[in-house]
């Protein structure tokens, strides 16, 4: 190996270091989801039946931290990549996808009592049958991709 790495080599090593950072962030997120009981079927069904404020307080306090955080970060550069920070706006269109897609997701969420992040965290937490829910979710996403040209958005 040469002592002075080429640009390509240095950027690819950079990218690998970044992947480790994302792995750590994922572990942190998984711990928050489990210790914060967001993976708990009981907590989700409690919220969806309006029998307790826990989940709503979590979402409100996450917003209270993330919204000002995002506003402060705008037009700065990302620490590790140097990219300018920008959140591409979601295209509204006719809005059908947000209402219909949101509703279909909500039905599944209410039935299973877990959304995508918690589904994967629960596999790690030892609820093996959640892997079947994850696989069914991949099948659902694939079916959406297949039908996409025929669906209103």
């Amino acid at each position: 190996m040469s002592a002075t790495p080429t640009f390509a080599a240095s950027t690819s090593r950079y990218r690998e270091r970044l992947l480790e950072v994302y792995l750590v962030m994922g572990v942190l997120f998984g711990i928050v989801l489990t210790k914060g009981e967001l993976v708990s079927w009981y907590r989700i069904e409690e919220a969806l039946r309006f029998k307790g404020p826990y989940i709503y307080l979590v979402i409100a306090s996450a917003f209270a931290v993330a919204a000002p955080g995002f506003a402060l970060l705008k037009r700065r550069r990302a620490r590790l990549t140097g990219e300018p920070i920008a959140i591409p706006p979601k295209v509204m269109g006719r809005g059908v996808r947000y209402v219909a897609g949101g509703a279909l997701f909500g039905l599944g969420w209410g039935i299973v009592g877990a959304c995508p992040g918690p589904l994967f965290a629960l596999v790690g937490a030892g609820v093996g049958v959640m892997a079947v829910v994850c696989l069914a979710a991949v099948a659902g996403t694939w079916t959406y991709g297949y039908l996409r040209p025929r669906l209103p958005h």
């Binding site: 970044l18 572990v27 993976v39 931290v65 920070i85 995508p116 992040g117 629960l122």
Partner: protein, 189 residues
């Protein structure tokens, strides 16, 4: 003493702000947006793209970071749900306890009721519909809506995006309807 503290569940005012910090951290570190359901698309693109245009993109470039993040989520689930497991039942409100008892739930221990989430329920029609049907709807709906509780509920709302607010309202309304109207017919008995 410290061991006992580590196993205790976190209150909302610790959990919520930390979720927000994860979203802010991903943006600050690498201009990445927290969103778990994109990984379902990346998994399709990586393993079963077929002839579908929606899965024909460079998933490594767009989503390798997120798949690695997802692997971390599974590992984090092991840390939080096994190593630091809370031995007590989740402290839901008495009203929630009463409401879920009407579904036939008797054992309130663990993160999910064992009565509902075990391999045997897959062999029942109700259990199959709950696990496979519910999972399918989650995958189809999040792809259609372009995000889930993390992508729309945390990232999209924090970025003050109206489409995300619409999606969040829609999935909470549908989730409430599913919990109250559908779940009683899907819980394996």
């Amino acid at each position: 003493m410290i061991g006992e503290l580590l196993h205790r569940p976190w209150p909302w005012y610790v959990t919520g702000p930390l979720l927000g910090l994860v979203a802010v951290g991903l943006l600050a570190i690498g201009n990445k947006q927290l969103g778990v359901s994109s990984n379902l698309r990346h998994l399709c693109a990586a393993f079963v793209p077929g002839d579908v245009a929606y899965f024909r993109y460079d998933w490594r470039r767009a989503g390798l970071w997120n798949l690695v993040f997802l692997l971390g989520v599974v590992a984090g689930g092991f840390v939080g749900g096994v190593l630091l497991a809370n031995a007590q039942p989740v402290a839901i409100t008495p009203a929630a306890h009463a409401s879920l008892a009407t579904l036939g739930i008797q054992d309130f221990s663990g993160l999910v009721p064992r009565q509902l989430f075990n391999w045997h329920v897959l062999l029942t029609l109700r259990g199959f519909l709950m696990i496979v049907g519910g999972g399918f709807l989650i995958g189809f709906g999040t792809a259609y809506a372009g995000g889930c509780t993390s992508g729309h509920g945390i990232t999209g709302l924090a970025a003050l995006q109206l489409p995300s607010l619409i999606a969040v309202i829609s999935f909470f309304v549908a989730g409430a309807a599913a919990s109250v109207l559908l779940l009683p017919f899907l819980v394996p008995r």
